[in-house]
Symmetry: C2
Amino acid sequence: MAVIAWWWLLTVVVVAFHSASSAVIESTWEVEYKYWWPDCKEGIVMAINGQFPGPTIDAFAGDTVIIHVVNKLSTEGVVIHWHGIRQKGTPWADGAAGVTQCPINPGETFTYKFIVDKAGTHFYHGHYGMQRSAGLYGMLIVRSPKERLIYDGEFNLLLSDWWHQSIHSQELALSSRPMRWIGEPQSLLINGRGQFNCSQAAYFNKGGEKDVCTFRENDQCAPQTLRVEPNRVYRLRIASTTALASLNLAVQGHQLVVVEADGNYVAPFTVNDIDIYSGETYSVLLKTNALPSNKYWVSVGVRGREPKTPQALTVLNYVDATESRPSHPPPVTPIWNDTDRSKSFSKKIFAAKGYPKPPEKSHDQLILLNTQNLYEDYTKWSINNVSLSVPVTPYLGSIKYGLKSAYDLKSPAKKFTVDNYDIMKPPPNPNTTKGSGIYNFPLGIVVDVILQNANVLKGVISEIHPWHLHGHDFWVLGYGEGKFKPGIDEKTFNLKNPPLRNTVVLYPYGWTALRFVTDNPGVWFFHCHIEPHLHMGMGVVFAEGVDRIGKMEIPDEALGCGLTRKWLMNRGRP
Amino acid sequence: MAVIAWWWLLTVVVVAFHSASSAVIESTWEVEYKYWWPDCKEGIVMAINGQFPGPTIDAFAGDTVIIHVVNKLSTEGVVIHWHGIRQKGTPWADGAAGVTQCPINPGETFTYKFIVDKAGTHFYHGHYGMQRSAGLYGMLIVRSPKERLIYDGEFNLLLSDWWHQSIHSQELALSSRPMRWIGEPQSLLINGRGQFNCSQAAYFNKGGEKDVCTFRENDQCAPQTLRVEPNRVYRLRIASTTALASLNLAVQGHQLVVVEADGNYVAPFTVNDIDIYSGETYSVLLKTNALPSNKYWVSVGVRGREPKTPQALTVLNYVDATESRPSHPPPVTPIWNDTDRSKSFSKKIFAAKGYPKPPEKSHDQLILLNTQNLYEDYTKWSINNVSLSVPVTPYLGSIKYGLKSAYDLKSPAKKFTVDNYDIMKPPPNPNTTKGSGIYNFPLGIVVDVILQNANVLKGVISEIHPWHLHGHDFWVLGYGEGKFKPGIDEKTFNLKNPPLRNTVVLYPYGWTALRFVTDNPGVWFFHCHIEPHLHMGMGVVFAEGVDRIGKMEIPDEALGCGLTRKWLMNRGRP
């Protein structure tokens, strides 16, 4: 085992912190569009208090976070989702438009108040329309007062992808008949900084003579280099909020010890690079044990789709390095379609010692077939032949007040609607239905979800889908090839040390199994984290403990739209 | 007098029609973005039921119009204003966001229901953000069952200007610090059709050989030609919903007899071309008495600003014309800065015989100084040193429910705040204030408004501002040069036969006087109809009969935002 001595072997006792000494972190955030140069070309970003990306929330487990979000947009609503925070007792603060709350109208303020109950590396982002793609995101770090990892310093690396086409135009393109695909991103960004149409490393291809990048140190697109001292251990907190791209990150000349995934410690393992899908976070420990007179590339490239986007680069900058720039070309991103390599990475991830094992058995099982389809010639993504149409009235409110016309009361199918569906071929019937039905679960049961991938509408291809569950961590029980065989493939599940996560990748033509406990009364979105896919209906909704929702205190301000608005306006009237 | 015999000399008895035989015109309109080719280049328009411009409403005076507006946008609110309709008894249906209603949220439906009480040529348009500029507009024709004009046929000509930059980008540009001006429009459109970067008439400049326009007859940008028979009289109903451009319209080889302005008959007069400002409508009668074997250009060009936009052209097409296209170049638009010519046109407009004269005296007078200023280095337009900041909670609702924190209770000044203000120079103090205060008027009084123009922030220039009043027609009492002299200039007012209008132009460095009766309980927007100017705060608000508003039935759906939403949700609770 390649475990080395400089990091502490993790044994974790998961503790929730609600101590009396918890702090309150309170902030007012004004959201507006702003001109910005994320990739050295002027564009328009969604900024928070004039910053892009938004401010980092830095809290301790048990703290209460209060964010007053002021919508300063001209005509658009907005919400913010706190990705990875379970929102126990505060489902209305989850920030998913149409699911847990109404969009905040222009000029209005909505207050999110929630407890960050356990330590972890998280982020936040817009969850209305495609506003995440417009740059509405930032880091959300929750520290443990009793951190089990030993390190000397840390860096946040928030990864994203960037288009020059506005999100309004992208939304229209995707919603058009026929659909117009938005294409690959123009740039990858590290902490909101990238370089379009120039590469910091270009001089390697030009005989070492010329650097085609003309940004200056203070430019908005100039990379933030990571300044490190030799022979120290650094924690890199890495989050991917990409709209589309699956990424790979490497630090030249350095190994990475993976210690955390989605806010949960994992059994440490050492790699040269990590794959990271949209919605995922990782912490890796990096020892600065390379030659300290050199500089080293930190490189982020595209995997899983044929890359048309240059690598994002920044520099690991030893403080006493004599080089002006790294003397070698940046690490080459592993070839995009080497899926076996990707799977090999995923399969290295296990829970750290001390984490509770999953329950041995599940009480319920969903098998969710992911297909690309047509609905009246609009291109859609469907789950068990339903493309999700998020209603105007948030489920949380319509359930609380028993407003039965707010959404489809019939739940979608729990498994394939076609028995002998051949996942290796385009759908025999290309057409799908649209719906707003949800899955209802009682509290305290164990649910298995099998995500089943399939061939897309045309051609021989199956796409990557990173699925993200709100309000929960789940155990990743396993990945398999081809079509899931109920009653058989369950036997391959890892029940010993599966990692707890909130996002998991579904590989082409394969399946992914996860298990969770319905321990959080509320309504929770479960969806592909690829922004265009979600926009095209790729999600389902879980309601847990419906009777408890009825008794929950939900701020009226969260429900001031659609049928809940009407209900609340007539409440108490004869 | 150049009056000719083929049109009937107008004597009007103004009648309001509320007869039992009135019809109900009911329609459901879905508003969404759509790809379109308004000027032979692909852009994105706001379409209604897939159409651009929106459907024409064709009603008779006394009819009830019911439009269910369904917001199919992704994240944006929307409203529709029925420009020229007085909304007597239905101020909540006026469709001015923040003034008379809340924006309709995505996925929601709002029903406008109002009576079109008198005949006239009107239009409708978006009144939230800069959605009018995105193409949210259409014609609204109200006919009289006893039409006094005699004509054989009619055409609607809805004029607009078009940018290739999206409205979201335009809004940001105008709201940025420093402000970025959006520039002149790329195209002028007639009924939503124009030609970018090509001129139908270009072959005149190219030796008659080549037509650079490549559109085909069925293209979205192909002009609708006006097919006419010889020796007939046609009514052209012309409306301008431009965001910026002041226009001039001419029909080659034909004279135009102006008979209607803003829904009111005027004493007919004959011209070769008409000026039309944003927010205005005209009807002109045209006799097809030219050589019927020829074709003739209908030409629309820019006035009042240095034109950088090609003329919009279509063809008056005699049914038996043997020409394939007009044999002569289109009429030349009068030079843009010949303001005297423009004024001369305005001053030809008088009420038709039989219209009631204005009251002899006014009870109140506002003198509204129009200035361009800075607010914290943002560029703004101000009225008496207040740049209007439209509140989130619609005035109509906050007044009805007595919600005093919804807007500034202090009214803005009724006249210049600086006594010796020199309108010929840039403002001595460039800074302005922002506010949401309104002017309150009791019912049944006569109010004079003097619009006073001035020099802009920089340079020696004063801009044109067409002012539009909601909920009313007003009498245009006169235009003057320089600074209005209270107590003196009133003597020049035309009290004999001033035209009734809802929009009037304020010329550079001059003043315009208008008079209206506060006969319509409600809250009414009065603002510059130039979309960017309004976006930068150029408007005021009049409340009439505040006590009556308290007793008015206003649909809750109009008030489901801001403080009225909160109030309505808590209504009836202990």
